[in-house]
């Protein structure tokens, strides 16, 4: 594990495997590099280098007071890529939820540095999709009530893990600019999306509240394909095996298609509800 300094924060990062670089970005609040680590990043690292990092305020990275906007987070991503000597690209990017919005924002700024892009349940615009679930709690007391009741039981968390989740969310929501940064996150401009000439894989959950955002992106992005999985928003946790098959197929188009067929008939995934993006 390595620590990388960015503006106002220190980020914890991890590199797995060797070969062409693929960087994976986790989602907001409850996400960190463990979201990808064993189920998805490790298998993918058998044939490439996989880079993971905890975004500012998440996992083992420091709690930055500000800089949760997409411009700063795309700068953070650039610094991580520079650290691993692939800052000029081409790199494959995979992001879930807020991580997908960061990856997309980076690709729109630096399309020549991105080889392929995978957006997993990207909630664009975040101010419509993320804000309601995240910002219902307007005080620490209300947050504690929500986390200790509904959220922790939905995520199967108890005891120490529940306390730590509450601490992290309290710090992110009340000690940083996260709330105002997310409320300021508009959709990316349609003209910029229409001009993004990159292969893009969109993976959305059939029961995700963000599904309409995926359908919209599929129409706007010129080289996008939309794949739907039978789950909700938390695809890396709810349907990791199915997501891995989609990623392998998209990233290794020449691999044996019979060995990587998605078991659509047997796809039954228990929904996880009530957890933050």
């Amino acid at each position: 594990m390595e620590t990388i300094a960015v503006a106002g924060a220190e980020l914890q990062s991890l590199a797995l495997g060797q070969g062409a670089p693929l960087l994976m970005l986790h989602g907001l609040a409850n996400g960190n590099m463990a979201s990808w680590f064993s189920a998805i990043a490790s298998p993918l690292s058998a044939s490439r280098q996989v880079l993971l990092y905890d975004q500012r305020g998440h996992g083992g990275s420091s709690l930055a007071a500000s800089g949760y906007d997409l411009d700063q987070q795309a700068d953070d991503l650039q610094t991580v890529l520079d650290h691993y000597r692939c800052g000029q690209g081409p790199v494959d990017l995979v992001g879930h939820s807020m991580g997908a919005l960061i990856a997309l924002h980076y690709a729109l700024r630096q399309p020549e540095r991105v080889r392929r892009l995978v957006l997993v349940d990207a909630p664009m615009p975040a101010r419509d999709y993320v804000a309601p679930s995240l910002f219902n709690a307007t005080s620490r007391e209300a947050l504690a009530e929500w986390v200790l009741g509904e959220l922790a039981s939905a995520a199967g968390l108890s005891g120490r893990r529940r306390e730590r989740l509450l601490q992290r969310l309290g710090a992110l929501l009340f000690d940083t600019t996260l709330r105002q940064d997310v409320l300021a996150m508009d959709a990316e401009p349609e003209a910029a999306l229409a001009a993004l000439e990159l292969p893009v894989l969109l993976v959305y959950g059939l029961r995700s509240p963000c599904l309409a955002a995926g359908e919209r992106l599929a129409k706007l992005l010129p080289q996008a394909q939309l794949k739907l999985l039978s789950c909700g928003h938390y695809i890396p946790e709810e349907a990791p095996a199915e997501l891995l098959v989609l990623l392998e197929n998209f990233l290794n188009p020449n691999s044996n298609p019979h060995s990587m067929r998605l078991p659509t008939e047997t796809l039954t995934v228990a929904p996880v509800t009530g957890v933050l993006p």
């Binding site: 594990m1 463990a34 979201s35 680590f37 064993s38 189920a39 490790s42 083992g60 893990r161 730590r164």
Partner: protein, 97 residues
């Protein structure tokens, strides 16, 4: 428990304590039966740090990432300390531990 296993267990306990780095873990009685999830109540990110620290300690004698590959987060922290020790002790020859 063989002395080889005991050495590996001591190393794993050391990495758990260093990673968690809170007062309670110093006195917590960690053994082969201890579960990362139910007993230590570790977060998945802490398990990743512990696995990475053990991998860094043993270097290329071990392929802990490949061993964990394909396991879900829930399987990952559902492991016991003994599961991890068995994998490490079984992979390393006693002289290397």
């Amino acid at each position: 428990m063989s002395s080889h296993q005991e050495q590996v267990l001591a190393l794993v306990i050391d990495k758990i304590r260093a990673t968690v780095n809170e007062d309670w873990i110093a006195d917590f009685d960690i053994g082969l039966e201890t579960r990362f999830n139910d007993d230590l109540e570790l977060e998945s990110i802490e398990f990743v740090k512990i696995a990475d620290a053990i991998q860094a300690h043993y270097g290329n004698q071990l392929a802990i990432i490949a061993w964990l590959s394909g396991k879900s987060i829930h399987e990952l922290i559902g492991l016991s300390v003994g599961d991890l020790v068995d994998y490490i002790a079984g992979t390393l020859a006693p002289a290397q531990a």
